[in-house]
């Protein structure tokens, strides 16, 4: 397992640690990977939340005046904030679906045999991958029309739909990189043997290469989904009602300083509870699909 420098027998360095070695470049390009989870961290998060609520409650009691306790206020607002949170999840699913389809197409265009198609799709991918998500979101919110007219038919584009498109753009670019990397990770011999068996390029791609890639692309794709879910809170910045907006509205309505920390912690822990299992599953799949050698 020890890497040897060419020309010497001396051990230089071990191969990079699991996290760096496990994934091919393209998946690491996301830089957001998840490993080493313990259910213990889940318990400690809950403990932190309970502690925050208790402290806030104690603060409220110390203040004297008979007021609603922090717990009842939280319970009162929880259903509304949760609805907003569900909207976040809905947006994440839609943006992921849209981004995945567009990204798959863009990724396949990157391995096209035509140089101009390859070049153009590479530029598009790099551009959308390196632009900040929030800027892309602003871009779509402001520059897409509020309705489009096709053949005399008026299709309204509500704000939330524009936001979905705005989130789908960076997802598209990242999915394109995952697809390209996945295809790259298949040994060249697979292409050659398919060619020897008289498969056409399209047949090779669909029947030999892509089925093998799919397995390898799943973990980084799920990772991307978790990132997207966390990014959906950005839509509150451009004025769409989501979990974050409702939480802030609740805080404004109550005008209670001690409610701030529990409220935000509640929202944070919902996201944690949603993203954490995804991250765990990603890790498991990654280990299972790991390519040796």
């Amino acid at each position: 397992m020890i890497a040897r420098a060419p020309g010497t027998d001396l051990p230089v360095l071990l191969p990079a640690g699991d996290a760096l070695r496990a994934r091919p470049d393209q998946a690491a390009a996301l830089g957001w990977t998840s490993r080493s989870f313990t259910p213990r961290s889940l318990a400690s998060l809950l403990a932190l939340f309970v502690l925050a609520v208790l402290v806030a409650d104690a603060q409220a009691q110390a203040a004297g005046a008979p007021r609603e306790s922090v717990v009842t206020m939280l319970l009162k607002w929880a259903p509304l904030v949760f609805q907003g949170f569900l909207f976040n999840l809905l947006v994440s699913v839609l943006a992921m679906a849209l981004g995945s389809f567009a990204g798959a197409a863009l990724g396949l265009a990157q391995i096209s045999l035509l140089a101009p198609v390859r070049g153009a799709s590479w530029i598009a991918t790099q551009f959308f991958r390196n632009a900040p998500w929030l800027v892309l979101l602003f871009y779509c919110m402001f520059l897409l029309p509020f309705e489009i007219q096709i053949l005399g038919l008026t299709i309204p584009l509500p704000a939330w739909l524009k936001a979905v498109v705005g989130l789908a753009l960076p997802v598209m670019a990242n999915v394109a990189e995952i697809v390209r990397g996945g295809v790259r990770s298949i040994p060249a011999t697979q292409w050659e043997s398919a060619e020897a068996l008289a498969f056409s390029r399209r047949q090779t791609l669909w029947m030999v290469i892509l089925p093998q890639c799919l397995k390898r692309m799943t973990p980084p794709w799920m990772n991307l989904y978790a990132i997207l879910t966390m990014a959906t809170t950005l839509i509150s910045v451009v004025g769409i009602q989501d979990g974050m907006t409702t939480a802030r509205a609740a805080l404004v309505a109550e005008q209670r300083l001690e409610l701030f920390i529990p409220m935000y912690l509640m929202l944070l822990s919902w996201f944690f509870l949603y993203c954490y299992p995804i991250a765990r599953l990603t890790l498991r799949l990654e280990r299972r699909f790991q390519v040796r050698g």
């Binding site: 051990p11 360095l13 191969p15 551009f127 929030l134 966390m230 509150s236 974050m244 920390i261 993203c275």
Partner: protein
């Protein structure tokens, strides 16, 4: 200079492309100020997050179980929650319980400004990723090298600073690059708490001059350029720090 300004002013009237940041001194100053703020914010968070990463990775190798668990909890919490909510949590929730003080002009001033909270929030966010990155680099350093250093009488800290870290740093540079690029992109979130960075400055300009389309494109190109410069610089650094004979 004035010829360029005149050209852009003509562009504003003839095809209607209003790049006010080129010919209008006020808008230009605002935009450049935003650019400087973004760069400063990025650099500060970059340095702090690397420090957090190094210290965190060192603590994770601690012999105390409690320390390891706390670091692990920190990493998982910051990786699996939205950075925007983290920022709001710091700015509104933690910021509200900190004491306020009178400033020189007699107004109440929070202890940490919004720029300060942005720096704190993003540093912790990127730092959580850096801890993992540095740790996987440290794992790649052969046990025998550490043992050799121990035999030479190095302390645990000495081994970490003089032997393990220089080697580990070179291994994890590629992963670190990706995270730092992400960090630069994350700084746009500071817009939400009114830190006058690039996005905020651009939004101010387009809401006054009504040149949303032009400013949007300028903004996108500027961010892509910042990221490109960062990637280029880190790429050069990576090549300069390459260990001869070790390549992946």
């Amino acid at each position: 200079m004035s010829a360029i300004e005149a050209f852009f002013q003509r562009l504003g009237t003839a095809p209607g492309w209003n790049f006010s940041i080129v010919y209008d001194a006020f808008d230009r100053a605002r935009f450049l100020e935003g650019l400087v703020t973004t760069i400063l914010l990025s650099l500060t968070c970059l340095v702090l997050s690397i420090i957090i990463g190094i210290v965190g990775a060192w603590l994770q190798g601690s012999t105390l179980r409690v320390t390891r668990r706390i670091v692990q909890g920190y990493i998982q919490f910051f990786r699996n929650t939205p950075p925007l909510v983290q920022l709001f949590f710091f700015y509104f929730a933690i910021g509200s319980i900190l004491p306020r003080s009178l400033n020189s002009s007699g107004q109440m001033e929070p202890m940490i400004s919004n720029l300060g909270w942005a720096i704190v929030s993003f540093s912790f966010f990127a730092g959580a990723f850096n801890v993992e990155i540095f740790r996987s680099g440290i794992q790649a350093v052969p046990r025998t090298t550490v043992e050799a250093a121990e035999a030479l009488g190095y302390s645990r800290l000495g081994i970490y600073v003089h032997v393990v870290l220089p080697l580990a740093f070179r291994i994890c540079l590629p992963a670190l690059n990706n995270n730092l690029v992400n960090l630069v992109k994350t700084t746009t979130l500071a817009y939400a708490i009114a830190v006058p960075e690039l996005l905020y400055a651009a939004a101010q300009i387009w809401s006054e001059v009504f040149n949303v389309r032009e400013m949007m494109n300028v903004l996108l190109v500027t961010y892509v350029a910042i990221v490109a410069v960062l990637v280029w610089a880190m790429g050069r650094w990576e090549r300069a720090m390459r260990i001869p004979g070790y390549s992946t």
